[in-house]
């Protein structure tokens, strides 16, 4: 597991492809895709999976590199919360650029305490 990247402010996903569609992350040939997860207190481990493989399963903040496969594949995540003051944010970093937030939720914002989401990774 790599150390979490700090010091960059996350911005909203800019490649949203429509009201019903998930964002598409286009990875150029040879490009590097990292997934960054920031969490508050967790009692249920969260998971990030890509194309049928668990990329991250953890109770704490993590950043992991995703090795894109040629074509369109799903990058999925799932969070379940049971601790007071819970929060989570999942972002991606493409070739060291600014992190782009895919999803964020927290008890403070009165979000639902479980969530499943996905983006499409196109390589």
């Amino acid at each position: 597991m790599a150390a979490k990247k700090k010091g960059k402010s996350a911005k909203r996903a800019a490649e949203d492809t429509g009201p019903a569609a998930a964002p598409i992350i286009v990875v150029p040939p040879g490009g590097q895709l990292d997934v960054v997860v920031d969490v508050g207190p967790m009692v249920f481990p969260y998971t990030v999976a890509y194309a049928g493989h668990t990329v991250i399963k953890s109770l704490v903040d993590r950043q992991e590199q995703v090795t894109p496969q040629p074509g369109d594949f799903v990058l999925a995540w799932s969070f379940a919360h049971g601790a007071k003051g819970w929060s989570h944010q999942i972002s991606y970093i493409l070739d060291g650029a600014e992190p782009v937030v895919l999803e964020e939720a927290s008890e403070k914002k009165k979000n639902r305490d479980t969530s499943i989401g996905f983006a499409v990774v196109r390589a």
Binding site: K57, L75, A76, G82, I116
Partner: protein
């Protein structure tokens, strides 16, 4: 000279081959187990999807179904039903795997919140739940260390404040909690400047000055002897880390298997239709399963024992000591709370040279039934409580003042209203007329109370 050189080479090779630390070995084991889980889920998903697609006459190309959204939904629903039996997958999660997840380091940690309630009469009465304050340490959340009302200041204490945390390096919420589970069993509070009715100190309700307010200093110490309702406790690892973690892993992994490759002329939304359907099916399942785990933990039995003292600050010699057992548990749709208290009070009403002791048992219990879920307001229940309590004095014949045993029975209905409020209606039946002084309507031994103020929320625009 060749032998030592050869040994050195072997040693270097061994060092290169062997894992550099137990943590690395644990991480490798975890990755291997996750890979096995991925494989098992993938094989089952593909086999079930193939079978259900054929049975429904739909074709499967690039892990996407053909057909209408309704037909796809039916197939994916059937596929997920086939994958509900996870027993043989869960056995893959070893104790080392669970511990590795818990012990994983974190870069920052948030302070835990305090839910401490003082167990002295200034801030709480019976029945009281058996939970202990969740104060992690004195330094963890200082803002909640002290609480105050109009006259009293309460300092919440936890045995954890007297032990050092595991390491300056920060760990997961579970690791932080589980490293001091024994210390977390002990808690307490100290209240200064409380103003307490005399009845609460002596238990004697039939005296003319029963409602006289006295300045007091109170303390209590509580130890949880049975159970732990905190989901961070190690006793719940099989439910939280193993079961809950697997449910999240399964949801993400299955969703990641769904094809999203656009066919000629398709929009992104059309290409993602299958994934959106699968997500919409997985989400409520995950929420329901996680809610069931959380509810099971929150309603598990818990027993605490508490010692408490109340001392009047402006009247010499008047002290009260109490020893209490507090129990609560969920039974079906109901929550049961029961308290038993034995108290000894030094009474100086006849003068400091004629001090006498009032000894009493106080029993109380309450059953709260959560009825008609979603019937009035979505996600909320109609709560019906039935309870009672009694104060039984010991050796009343030796007391220089009259002491009558008292009892009361009560029932309360809490009706939920939109906007988060509730309309409480309660009725009390008691042999203690002084217990009815705060009721809205009293006849004989019966008192009725109600509060319709929450109804105004119904007329607030947007409620």
């Amino acid at each position: 000279m060749a032998k030592p050189a050869c040994s050195l080479v072997v040693l270097v090779l061994l060092c290169t081959w062997l894992p550099s630390s137990p943590a690395v070995a644990q991480g490798a084991d975890r990755a291997a187990i996750d890979a096995r889980i991925d494989q098992m889920l993938t094989e089952r998903w593909k086999a079930a999807l193939d079978a259900e697609a054929k049975a429904s006459g739909l074709t499967l190309v690039d892990q996407r179904l053909s057909g209408s959204a309704d037909d796809k939904r039916k197939v994916y629903t059937a596929v997920l039903d086939r994958l509900k039996d996870d027993g043989d997958i869960l056995v893959n999660f070893t104790q080392a795997y669970v511990q590795s997840l818990i012990d994983e380091k974190v870069e920052s940690r948030m302070g835990t919140s305090v839910n401490a309630t003082s167990t002295n009469p200034a801030t709480a009465g019976l029945p009281e739940r058996s939970g202990a304050p969740s104060l992690a340490a004195l330094a963890a959340d200082v803002s909640s260390l002290v609480s105050a009302d109009k006259t009293a200041v309460t300092v919440n204490l936890n045995a954890l404040a007297f032990v050092s945390l595991r390491e300056p390096d920060l760990y997961s919420e579970l690791a932080a909690y589980q490293s001091h589970e024994l210390a977390r069993r002990f808690s307490g509070s100290v209240t200064f400047g409380a103003r307490i009715p005399e009845k609460e100190i002596t238990g004697l309700s039939n005296l003319p000055d029963f409602d006289q307010v006295l300045d007091a200093f109170s303390w209590d110490a509580k130890v949880r002897v049975l159970g732990d309702k905190d989901p961070r406790a190690s006793r719940w690892n099989d439910f939280t880390v193993v079961r809950g973690g697997f449910l999240a892993q399964k949801a993400a992994l299955l969703l990641s298997l769904v094809g999203v490759t656009p066919r000629p002329g398709e929009t992104a939304a059309q290409a993602q239709e299958d994934a959106l359907i699968v997500r919409s099916l997985l989400e409520p399942d995950l929420h329901k399963s996680i809610s069931a785990i959380k509810s099971g933990i929150a309603r598990s039995p818990q027993l605490s024992i508490k010692a408490a003292g109340t001392h009047l600050t402006k009247e010499t010699g008047k002290n009260k000591y109490a020893f209490t057992a507090l129990f609560d548990a969920g039974l079906g749709r109901s929550d049961v709370t029961a308290n038993v208290q034995y108290s000894i009070t030094d009474d100086v009403r006849l003068g400091i040279d004629q001090v006498f002791q009032v000894k009493a048992w106080a029993l109380s219990g309450e059953v709260i039934s959560h009825l008609a879920p979603d019937a009035i307001v979505e996600g909320r229940t109609l709560d019906w409580s039935l309870g009672g309590g009694a104060t039984l004095f010991q050796d009343t014949s030796s007391l220089p003042v009259p002491a009558d045993n008292t009892w009361k029975l009560f029932s309360r209905l809490d009706i939920p209203v939109r906007g988060g409020g509730r309309v409480p209606i309660s009725i009390i039946y008691t042999n203690d007329p002084n217990a009815l002084t705060k009721e809205k309507y009293v006849t004989g031994q019966i008192g009725l109370s109600y509060d319709f103020s929450a109804l105004k929320e119904l007329f607030v625009p947007g409620s």
